[in-house]
């Protein structure tokens, strides 16, 4: 089974559409959405509906920090800009959509795979896997051999050997990487809706369970259209600009 792992969609309809089309062309049979469906972008309702439809058809989805914040309402401790985006997003979602976000599970397991938005050691605390030490901590916190995370928007691959040696790798799009069974792996596909590694093309990863091969992909999409929606909505200009720069 080929699984398309899509994370940090951030209400970016154009990016999500392009990624889904690309994944279909690659033969994806299953979808895993690893959180942060909303926040930042101008199309929250469409993206939530899209994920919900996939989940009704058997897809996997877990909760991200933006989904939790929107479902539960902004807290006073948040920065003003973040509160503004959350309030704006809540106004655009109906009760059913908000309920869908609120009921998302924190983690999902499938075979020896784990899907979790931030990390495996404390999923609801939303700590970032910023480097090898957090990656190793996460890999040791689960029995599952392969963990798929979002939260970090840059694509990354971490691995841990049976003797405790760990490594990190910045992946190249389109190259199939065998995820050897002798190691544990932590896969960060990178953000579909708001890439931050200097490349504006949307990120996702495709995992082929039978061949045990992982391929990172970059999909160019109409980011001008996504930017125009953010501007038209009166959301902070910086949220539009960063889609063009990819940072």
């Amino acid at each position: 089974m080929k699984i398309a792992v899509i994370t940090d969609l951030h209400a970016n309809r154009e990016a999500v559409q392009a990624v889904l089309e690309h994944a279909a062309a690659q033969g994806a049979q299953h979808h895993a959405f690893v959180g942060d469906f909303v926040g930042y972008g101008g199309d929250p309702a469409w993206v939530v509906d899209c994920v919900r439809q996939h989940v009704e058809g058997g897809a996997t989805a877990v909760m991200g920090n933006h989904d939790a914040a929107v479902a539960q309402g902004a807290r006073r401790t948040m920065r003003a800009e973040a509160r503004f985006v959350i309030d704006w997003t809540r106004e655009r979602l109906d009760a059913g959509q908000l309920d869908f976000l609120d009921r998302l599970p924190m983690t999902h397991e499938r075979g020896d795979l784990l899907f979790v938005h931030a990390n495996a050691y404390a999923p609801p605390e939303w700590g970032y896997v910023e480097g090898k030490s957090e990656a190793v901590r996460s890999l040791l916190a689960t029995r599952q051999r392969i963990t798929f995370c979002g939260h970090m928007h840059e694509p990354m691959l971490y691995h841990l050997s049976a003797t405790g040696k760990s490594g990190s790798f910045v992946p190249v799009a389109g190259e199939a990487i065998p995820l050897l069974a002798s190691r544990r792996w932590l896969v960060i596909p990178g953000s579909a809706g708001q890439p931050r590694d200097g490349n504006p093309a949307a990120c996702y990863a495709l995992y082929d369970e039978d061949a045990a091969e992982l391929t990172y992909w970059r999909v160019p999409y109409d980011h001008e259209a996504a930017m125009a929606k953010i501007r038209a909505a009166g959301l902070p200009q910086s949220l539009a600009a960063r889609l063009a720069d990819g940072n």
């Binding site: 020896d112 003797t163 490594g167 992946p171 065998p178 002798s182």
Partner: protein
């Protein structure tokens, strides 16, 4: 579904493998070889065969196969385990005639193995005992191996353990690199990078930068090839067989005895080629396998420097100086953007010039186009080629006085054509070569030269005269259709 824990590195209660055993649908037929790190079994596929295979694996049913099974010497030997993991990861990413084709792998959780194409030909290891070899044979081995290495470097791989026992020849003479347990692939995680605190490689062949832990410079493989060629030429190893890090570091400041001091009939150009492979600084070596292969195939074009004439090792004072600078020296290679970008920055550009037929205007346009391409890459080499037509039959008669004079005339014409860019781009220091090919068909000769020399780009003129084109056909269109590389066709 089974969940695996990390305690399964050494498969529990594994029955010893024996002929007749079936592993994942592969039947072990016969043990072919037991090496330091692995056993090799001849296998056949029974019942479909399983193990983990790439989705797009369409292996021909009659492909002869071997299974490589690591020898795991207790839990204390991470080197053999990680090396095997590296090979499991890298081999599926490689293609083409210079590697054994990957078929399937089995994981450490059950039975670790790799099933791959069996290459029947002999390994170069046996020839080492026969060294010194005939000079012609050294050249032949060198150019075949350099060609194979270049093809792997183009696929983002540095082998990092180039030595005779890791080189096998197919029946048609194609060199095949085997054993990727120490290799680095730019687009795959490097499992060895942070694993060990000692330099990785084989003592006699390891490059100075490998001693300094650099794992992504393709020129490391050309250093190792230089060690091989030195050994095949002289019967001696240039740096002995050190086993300590201190011994390995000696090659940073002690240069080898020049081959000609050990073997008088080693031509100066071959000494130049070998010593250039063995330069301590990678940027002073051949910059790509293709450039090295080109030199070996056309000795008359090798520019001779002081290396060719060197008769002694450097004196004690020079050594002391180099030793001093080598203490704690960090690798000085310029930052690489990857294995392939290094070889891409050192392309071979082939200018196919019809010096007799082309119009003056076309020759000017060709020169300008070639200049624009070569000027962008300081590492580029320019090979100027013309084709001297020979009759399809009666080839022998051509090697006469008239034939010779035509040959020389074409060479003179080529040099004259290249002179303005040679001066302007300062190509005289060995970046420019001239070749007059003798063949009945120009297009075929150009395509074959480009393939043999791993040319990156061909620049040639379109046949201007439409009547000629109608009767003789277009050489350039045939080259465009048949060449493996980029072809730029220039019109006046």
């Amino acid at each position: 579904m089974e969940t695996e824990t990390d305690s399964t590195l050494e498969p529990a209660n594994r029955a010893p493998l024996a002929a007749g055993t079936i592993v994942d649908g592969w039947q072990l037929e016969e043990k072919l070889h037991t090496g330091g790190m692995a056993h090799l079994w001849r296998v056949t596929r029974v019942s479909g065969g399983s193990g983990t295979e790439p989705a797009s694996n369409d292996v021909p049913a009659d492909l002869p196969l071997i299974m490589k099974v690591p020898r795991i010497m207790g839990g204390e030997d991470p080197a053999s385990i990680v090396g095997f993991e590296v090979e499991q990861m890298i081999l599926p990413a490689l293609q083409g005639p210079h590697v054994p084709r990957f078929v399937a792998r089995g994981d450490f959780s059950r039975e670790p193995y790799i099933v791959m194409e069996r290459i029947d030909g002999p390994s170069l290891r046996a020839r080492l005992d026969e060294a010194p070899l005939a000079i012609d044979e050294v050249i032949e081995i060198g150019s075949r191996v350099a060609t194979a290495l270049h093809e792997l470097h183009r696929q983002h791989l540095v082998h990092l353990d180039v030595k005779p026992s890791n080189i096998v020849f197919r029946a048609d003479g194609t060199a095949v690199m085997v054993d990727f347990g120490l290799s680095h692939h730019d687009r795959l995680p490097d499992l060895l990078d942070e694993e060990f605190s000692l330099p990785m490689g084989t003592g006699p062949y390891i490059s100075p930068e490998q001693v300094q832990y650099v794992r992504d410079d393709p020129r490391s493989d050309l250093f190792a090839l230089g060690v091989m060629l030195y050994h095949f030429t002289t019967g001696q190893r240039p740096f002995g067989s050190p086993v300590t890090v201190r011994g390995l570091r000696r090659r940073l400041y002690v240069d080898p005895i020049p081959p000609r001091a050990l073997r008088a009939d080693c031509p100066p150009w071959l000494q130049e080629v070998i010593l250039k492979c063995l330069e301590v600084k990678a940027e002073r070596r051949w910059q790509s396998g293709a450039q090295l292969a080109l030199a070996l195939q056309d000795p008359t074009q090798v520019p001779l420097t002081a290396r060719a004439q060197r008769a002694h090792v450097s004196n004690a004072f020079q050594r002391l100086k180099r030793w001093f600078f080598a203490i704690g020296a960090e690798p000085q290679t310029s930052p690489l953007e990857g294995v392939t970008s290094q070889v891409m920055r050192s392309p071979i550009v082939m200018a196919a010039i019809d010096v007799d037929q082309a119009s003056g205007e076309l020759l000017d346009r060709l020169r300008e186009t070639v200049r624009r391409i070569v000027v962008t890459e300081p590492g580029a080499r320019l090979a100027c080629v013309s084709v001297m037509k020979t009759a399809r039959i009666g080839m022998d008669e051509l090697v006469d006085a008239a034939g010779q004079s035509v040959h020389v005339k074409q060479l003179v014409g080529l040099k004259h054509w290249a002179r303005p860019i040679s001066k302007q781009l300062n190509l005289e220091d060995g970046r420019l070569t001239f070749h007059v090919l003798e063949a009945p068909d120009a297009a075929t000769a150009i395509v074959e030269f480009a393939a043999r020399n791993q040319v990156d780009q061909i620049v040639m003129g379109a046949r201007g005269n439409s009547t000629l084109r109608r009767y003789l056909g277009s050489v350039s269109s045939q080259v465009v259709a048949q060449a493996d590389c980029t072809v730029t066709v220039v019109r006046a």
